[in-house]
Symmetry: C2
Subunit: 336 residues, 2 copies
Amino acid sequence: MKVTIKDIAREAGVSVATVSNVLNGKGRVSAETAERIQRIIAEKNFVPSTLARGLKNKNTQLISVIVPYLKRGNFEENPFFWQLISGVEMGTKDHKFNVMLTRVEQDNDLSFVQMHNVDGLIVVGIDADSELYRSILALKIPTVFMDSYIDQPGLYQVHNDDLLGGYLGTKHLISQGHTKIVLVVGKLADRGVDFQRLLGYKKALAEAGLAYDARLVLENGGSMLGGYHAAQKLISLPEKVTAAFVLSDIGAMGLIKGLYEMGKEVPADLSVVGYDDIFYSEYTIPSLTTIRQDIFKKGKMAADLLLAQINGEPVTEKNILLPVELKVRASTAKIL
Amino acid sequence: MKVTIKDIAREAGVSVATVSNVLNGKGRVSAETAERIQRIIAEKNFVPSTLARGLKNKNTQLISVIVPYLKRGNFEENPFFWQLISGVEMGTKDHKFNVMLTRVEQDNDLSFVQMHNVDGLIVVGIDADSELYRSILALKIPTVFMDSYIDQPGLYQVHNDDLLGGYLGTKHLISQGHTKIVLVVGKLADRGVDFQRLLGYKKALAEAGLAYDARLVLENGGSMLGGYHAAQKLISLPEKVTAAFVLSDIGAMGLIKGLYEMGKEVPADLSVVGYDDIFYSEYTIPSLTTIRQDIFKKGKMAADLLLAQINGEPVTEKNILLPVELKVRASTAKIL
DNA sequence: CTGAAAGCGCTTACAG
DNA sequence: CTGAAAGCGCTTACAG
């Protein structure tokens, strides 16, 4: 059966305490004893149980990523989440941490945290006055918030420069002669990622002397289907718009598809800028101009920050802001 | 701090054994005691630790999905895997199981299984004579193999009807007048998913009286980039081909993009059939004709099968074959 | 119907 | 440098 620390101890003719010591690089164990034990461990392919260890230590080498139900499209639908989680997984793997996948639905059921004694949490895009947010804080375990813009000092947070992203995308469109620019957002609130980007959008508009027109902001366009539906709303707008800035690449893909079905071509009839730079964006037809954020790296940063927090290591900056950049491809063009 | 079974016992004025009994619906506990304990559990928001429980029981309510390194494109790149894992997660959630994400790389490191006492494994697309396969079997824990075609009775396996899929896609193309049909595969072997589909391809060809030409089979086209490169290979083929059957949707997307960049249009210049029916396939331009498999359901089936195995429940059929169907969209057309 | 006790596989003071 | 013992939070025969 499974080999335990006892087996190793017996085989080596020492106590389990000694084996435990070499396992943890602790205690004063003579070099030769340690060596012998190491050899036997390798031989028997012994791996200490995190269960037993965790029961004593209160740590399990297990963390979770929480993605709130239905933001920016489904979890399965948006590669953004996968690249992110992939980054998290990469960032924890070397430190012998594993990540547990946990879909938190409307019930806000967080019992898995207690059940599995999860060591820490990475939470993506949560609203600071949601029930879920309060439940998470109540857990009082190491947590890193991503894309959440929570106005609460002391929290560990990772963001991209969303305001800049909103600004750059809009400015690019303006520089190509567009003046009527639709902004397709997921959900509008008075804070959060989309709000920051909206601020950037407004800033670019103002800078160019263009008036902000709230009717040009279309909601519920965060998912592919949402973007698809936004195409119809866009078409039926009273003013003639010549460009759209969609705050997610999958939303942009949906929008382009919707336009295509109505006989509108991108960028000939309408220029489109996306947001995220998921890997599909290079392969769509036309390829997508977008605001690039390094999603994978972002996940890795969050993991690093969380592990530092778990291990009680000091961090110089709890609030990390990652850069974004404009990636010009084929979905935008100068206005004729 | 964390509330334990002791706290509940003290509060209820009973022993921990009794609390444990009501927790597990075991033992003979008087209705009123049970009720009182239940109330206190709810009140104190007590969740039993799977750590402690697992230490005793040897079960952790934790399973893992293993996706071999780099097949059908990267894990992050191919929505196929996410939909699959999403299905698995759905299938386990109701049974209070969680899934641990584990990227197994070239080192074939499976130590997380022992470390976390994982209860079971779902393995996707593994080669029966790989080192990894042998290591997995050596673990001797409940396992379900997906898309693996392992010729070993007694194993739990889940597949789709890949031969039929290969047949249907090819036949569709033939029915539209195509006779020179390129087959873009991931990796060719003498067994496995792509091999089955190749068999279907050959069958359709034979049925139509068309000769099989090995030069029309292009390898390394399982990923998006692979499909993209396949476009060039396809163009430089000595014979004039009018259609391609790509054994993954993301490969097909890459191929279409590659063709597009060389000035070839789909389906006007070349008809393309994909495989999988990931959710993007409806949104690409043109939308993709493909062989649909219900990936989410497949993941769920695998989860069901695994849980049955873990719980020692009898299953009528260990080897599950799920259906596929042809989904005709806009990337294929009659030859002119 | 209920409780005392052993034990799961580790770690950690504390002796020696 | 090394070991005996307690304890982490549960479950499970076994008594009563």
